[in-house]
C-alpha cells in the first residue's frame, strides 16, 4: 500500500459528538463494584445523571419511571433475568425511547452465544475488560451509528420495509463507513418481505468475497424458505462445523430437520444447542415440542420445566409451557407432580381466561391419565364453558387442543366442528394443516383427519378462486361482495382478508378514494397483522393504501 495516511495524535481526547452533560444513563450490573466503576467512568465524561440497577427487575422498574438516553447492560446478571431478557422486556413493554442507545456488555468473545432475535438486538456490544477510553470510544460510535441509521430504523419501526430497503440501497451506493451493516440490513429486510431470492442474491454477493457466518446463515435461511431443505441443512451443518457456538445455526438446523421429517436428528441438534446455551427459553420450548412429538417425555419434561423457570421474568412467559410440562410429567408416570404444575399455572396467571382454559384442558388430560375420571370430567366441563366464553377469539393452538379434548372425551362432533373452522381459517397454511394432521394421527384417527382437512379446505379454495377470478375480470364490486360475504364465516382467514384488501384497493385505484372502503381495507390488514405480524403481503398493500390516502388529500 503506497497511500498510507498517518493518523496522528489519536490518543489524545477525540472531538466528541455527544453532549454528555445532557445525557441520562442507566447502568445495569449485578456487581456493585462494576456498577460504581462504570458510573465513575461515565461521570468522568461529564455525565451527571446516572441511575444504576443491580438486577433486571429493578432495571425494568427504573425504565418504566424514567427515560434514558443510554443504557449499559451487563449480559450476565446472576440468577434472575439476563441482559438479553431485560432488553426484550423493555422493548416489549415499550420502555425505551427510539433514540435510546443500548450497549450490551459481554464476556470475551461470546457474542454469538448471547445473540437474541433480530428485533431484540442491542445497538452494540462491548467486550470486557474495557477502560474508560474504550467505553467512551464505543459510546461515540454507537451514537453516531444510531443517527446514521435513524431514518431507516424509523421506517422499520413503522414496518415500512420496502421503504427501508430503498433507503438502505441509497446509502450502499454512497459507500458509507458501515457499508457491510447496510448490506446486511437490506438482506434482512428482503427476508422480512419474503423476497428470498433478492436476499439470497445479497448473501451470495457477500460470500463471493469471503466466507462470513452471518451471510452463510442468511443464505441457509433463504434455502429453508424456498423449501430447499437439503441445501439448507448442508449450509447450517457447515456453519456449525466451523463454529460450534453459532447458536442460531443450531436453531435453523433443528427446524430444517423437522421439515425433513427426521425428528431424532432435530432433537439431537437442539439438545446440543441447549447444552451450550441453556438460558435461551425459545430453544428450550423448541426442544420440548420436538420431544413431546417423539413421546420422549423425560426430555420434554425437563425442557418445559426449564422454559417455565426461565419464563418467569420473560416476555415469553406462556401457559403452554406449564401444561406441556404437566402433560410430559403425567405421561412419564408422575400425575401428582403434573397436578402441582397446573396449580402453579393457575396461581401465576390469576384472572386470565386463556390460562385457565389451558389449565382445565391439561387437567382433563392428566386426570384421565391418572384414572381419576370424576376430576377429569370436572376439568372437561370447565374447559367447555371457558372455551365457549372465549369463542372466536381463541388462538388456533388453543382451539386445536380443545378439539383434541372433545375427541378424547367422546364428543367427536364438537371436536370436528372446531377443526373444520380452523382449517377454513388457515386453509393455505401447510405447516398448520400438517400439525393438525399430526394431532389426528397421534389420536389414531389418521384417515378421518385427512378427510376433514380436505373437505374443509375445498370449500374455501373454491370460494376464494371465484373471488380472484371476478377481480381479474375487473368485476371488482362483485369480488368485494363475495369476499365480504365469505368473511362473515371466515373472519380469521388471512387469504380472504388479503384478497378483500386487494380488490378494495384496486377499486379505489380505479374509482378514487372511498372512506368506507378505506376503513374496511384497514380493518382487514389489522386483522391479518394480528394473526401474522410478519405477513409478507402487508407492507406492499400498506404502500398502496398510503398512496391512495395521499392522492386524495
Amino acid at each position: 500500500m503506497c497511500s498510507i495516511r498517518l493518523r496522528e495524535g489519536i490518543l489524545k481526547t477525540k472531538d466528541t459528538v455527544i453532549d454528555y452533560s445532557k445525557k441520562k444513563f442507566l447502568v445495569i450490573d449485578d456487581f456493585m463494584d462494576m456498577r460504581s466503576m462504570i458510573k465513575h467512568m461515565v461521570e468522568s465524561y461529564g455525565v451527571t445523571k446516572v441511575d444504576t440497577a443491580a438486577n433486571g427487575e429493578s432495571a425494568i422498574e427504573l425504565l418504566a419511571k424514567n427515560s434514558y438516553d443510554i443504557m449499559l447492560c451487563d449480559y450476565n446478571l446472576g440468577d434472575g433475568m439476563d441482559g438479553q431478557q431485560v432488553l426484550e422486556e423493555a422493548k416489549h413493554k415499550n420502555l425505551l425511547k427510539f433514540s435510546t442507545a443500548v450497549i450490551m456488555i459481554t464476556a470475551e468473545n461470546t457474542r454469538e452465544m448471547v445473540m437474541g432475535a433480530v428485533e431484540y438486538q442491542p445497538d452494540d456490544y462491548l467486550s470486557k475488560p474495557f477502560n474508560k477510553h474504550m467505553l467512551r470510544d464505543r459510546l461515540e460510535k454507537v451514537v453516531a451509528k444510531k443517527s446514521d441509521f435513524e431514518t431507516i430504523e424509523r421506517a422499520i419501526d413503522k414496518q415500512k420495509y420496502a421503504e427501508a430497503i430503498v433507503l438502505c440501497e441509497q446509502r450502499i451506493k454512497e459507500k458509507p463507513k458501515n457499508l457491510s451493516e447496510f448490506i446486511r440490513l437490506s438482506a434482512d429486510l428482503y427476508m422480512k418481505l419474503g423476497k428470498y431470492d433478492d436476499a439470497a442474491r445479497i448473501f451470495k454477493g457477500v460470500l463471493a468475497t469471503r466466507d462470513i457466518s452471518w451471510a452463510q446463515l442468511g443464505l441457509g435461511k433463504t434455502c429453508f424458505y424456498n423449501d430447499s431443505f437439503m441445501e439448507a441443512r448442508e449450509i447450517f451443518e457447515s456453519i456449525i462445523s466451523e463454529n460450534e457456538t453459532y447458536m442460531e445455526a443450531y436453531d435453523w438446523l433443528g427446524k430444517t430437520m423437522i421439515k425433513l421429517g427426521d425428528l431424532n436428528e432435530a432433537e439431537n441438534v437442539i439438545k446440543s444447542a441447549v447444552e451450550k446455551s441453556p438460558k435461551a427459553i425459545l430453544r428450550q420450548m423448541a426442544l420440548g415440542d420436538i420431544a413431546l412429538k417423539k413421546k420422549d417425555f423425560s426430555v420434554a419434561e425437563k425442557a418445559f420445566k426449564k422454559a417455565v423457570t426461565l419464563g418467569k421474568h420473560s416476555v415469553h412467559k406462556n401457559p403452554a409451557n406449564y401444561t406441556n410440562q404437566a402433560k410430559a410429567l403425567a405421561f412419564n408416570s408422575s400425575g401428582k407432580d403434573a397436578v402441582k404444575v397446573i396449580a402453579k399455572l393457575r396461581k401465576e396467571f390469576p384472572d386470565d381466561k386463556d390460562a385457565s382454559l389451558h389449565a382445565a384442558m391439561a387437567e382433563n388430560v392428566v386426570y384421565k391419565e391418572m384414572g381419576k375420571d370424576d376430576a377429569a370430567e370436572k376439568a372437561f366441563d370447565e374447559a367447555q364453558s371457558l372455551y365457549s366464553e372465549i369463542g372466536d377469539k381463541a388462538a388456533s393452538d388453543i382451539s386445536v387442543e380443545m378439539a383434541q379434548v372433545f375427541y378424547a372425551n367422546g364428543e367427536k362432533d364438537k371436536g370436528s366442528e372446531i377443526i373444520k373452522k380452523i382449517v377454513q381459517n388457515q386453509h393455505e397454511d401447510e405447516d398448520a394443516l400438517k400439525d393438525i394432521q399430526d394431532v389426528f394421527t397421534s389420536m389414531g384417527m389418521e384417515d378421518e383427519g385427512k378427510e376433514i382437512i380436505t373437505t374443509s379446505k375445498e370449500g374455501v379454495i373454491k370460494l376464494n378462486n371465484e373471488g380472484v377470478q371476478l377481480g381479474k375480470q375487473g368485476k371488482l364490486d362483485e369480488a368485494i361482495n363475495l369476499f365480504e360475504k365469505a368473511l362473515e364465516e371466515l373472519e380469521g382467514n388471512k387469504v380472504i382478508n388479503l384478497n378483500l384488501v386487494r380488490v378494495l384497493l384496486s377499486a379505489m385505484e380505479k374509482n378514487g378514494k372511498d372512506d368506507s372502503q378505506l376503513y374496511k381495507a384497514r380493518q382487514c390488514m389489522l386483522r391479518v397483522e394480528k394473526i401474522d405480524p410478519l405477513n409478507n403481503s402487508i407492507p406492499g398493500l400498506r404502500d398502496r393504501y398510503d398512496k391512495i390516502m395521499q392522492k386524495a388529500s
Partner: protein, 244 residues
C-alpha cells in the same frame, strides 16, 4: 498448526467428569480473578489520572503495568479455555481497520499516557479487513503491552495489505527482539513454547495465544500467522500478525 490440533484432541479425548469439573472451576476462578483485577486496574487508572499529570508516581505506573500484564494473561487463558473446551471459534466479519486499530490502542492508553509514550497509527483510511475483532484485539493488546516494556519513546501500529494478507504490526524503538526469537521463525510462527519470552515472562502463553488466533483465521486455503522482525518502521522490534 499441528501442535494446535493435537492439543485440541487431547483436551476433547479426556472426558472424565472430574477433569471437566476441574477445568470448569479453573475457568470460573480465572473469570472471577479477572473481574477483581479489572476493578483494581480501573482504580489505578483513576489514581494516576488524579495524581499530578505531568509526573505520575513511577511506582504506581509500574504497579499499573504489572496488573495489566496479569490481566492480559487471564484474558488470554479464558479465551483459550473457550476455544479449546467450548469450541468457540473466530467470528470473522468485515471491519474498518483504521478505526479498529485506534480502538485497540485505547486498551493501553492508561499505560502509554502514564509512561508518556507517543502512539501513532499508520493505516490507509480506506483499508477494510476480515477478522474476529475481539480476538485480534487481544493479540494486539498483548503486543502493545509487551512493546511498552521495551520501547523508549514511541510506538507505531501499522496496517497494510501484503500479498493478500492483512498485515498488522506493532513497532517499538527499543533494543529489538533477541536473536533467539527471530530465529524461531525459521520453524514457522506456529512453533510454540520452548522458553520463548513474549510479553508473559517465559510462559509462552502470549505467543501460543497469538499464533492460535492467527491460525483460526483462514481464507481460501490460507491460514494466518505471526512474525517477529527488527528495525522496520522504528529502530526496535516489530511484531506482525498476518490475516488472510
Amino acid at each position: 498448526m499441528s501442535a494446535q490440533s493435537n492439543d485440541k484432541e487431547d483436551l476433547t479425548a479426556d472426558k472424565s467428569e472430574d477433569n471437566a469439573d476441574f477445568v470448569a472451576i479453573l475457568a470460573s476462578a480465572i473469570h472471577d480473578m479477572k473481574n477483581s483485577l479489572g476493578f483494581v486496574l480501573n482504580s489505578l487508572d483513576e489514581f494516576i489520572d488524579e495524581a499530578d499529570q505531568s509526573q505520575p508516581p513511577e511506582r504506581l505506573v509500574r504497579v499499573q503495568y504489572e496488573a495489566k500484564r496479569v490481566n492480559n494473561n487471564l484474558v488470554r487463558l479464558l479465551a483459550l479455555y473457550k476455544m479449546q473446551c467450548l469450541g468457540v471459534s473466530a467470528n470473522i466479519d468485515e471491519h474498518d481497520v483504521g478505526e479498529f486499530l485506534q480502538e485497540c490502542m485505547l486498551q493501553d492508553k492508561p499505560i502509554t499516557d502514564a509512561k508518556d509514550i507517543k502512539v501513532n497509527v499508520e493505516c490507509s483510511g480506506e483499508l477494510m479487513g476480515y477478522f474476529d475483532s475481539d480476538l485480534v484485539m487481544g493479540v494486539l493488546g498483548n503486543a502493545v503491552t509487551n512493546a511498552v516494556r521495551y520501547t523508549k519513546n514511541e510506538l507505531i501500529v501499522s496496517a497494510e495489505e501484503v500479498d493478500g494478507y492483512l498485515k498488522i504490526s506493532v513497532h517499538d524503538d527499543g533494543e529489538g527482539f533477541p536473536e533467539s526469537m527471530l530465529s524461531s521463525n525459521e520453524n514457522g510462527a506456529g512453533d510454540v513454547g520452548h522458553g520463548v519470552s513474549f510479553s508473559s515472562g517465559n510462559t509462552g502463553l502470549g505467543l501460543y495465544f497469538s499464533s492460535l488466533v492467527a491460525a483460526l483465521h483462514k481464507n481460501k486455503g490460507r491460514s494466518g500467522f505471526i512474525d517477529f522482525t527488527n528495525g522496520c518502521a522504528l529502530s526496535g522490534g516489530c511484531f506482525s500478525i498476518y490475516l488472510p
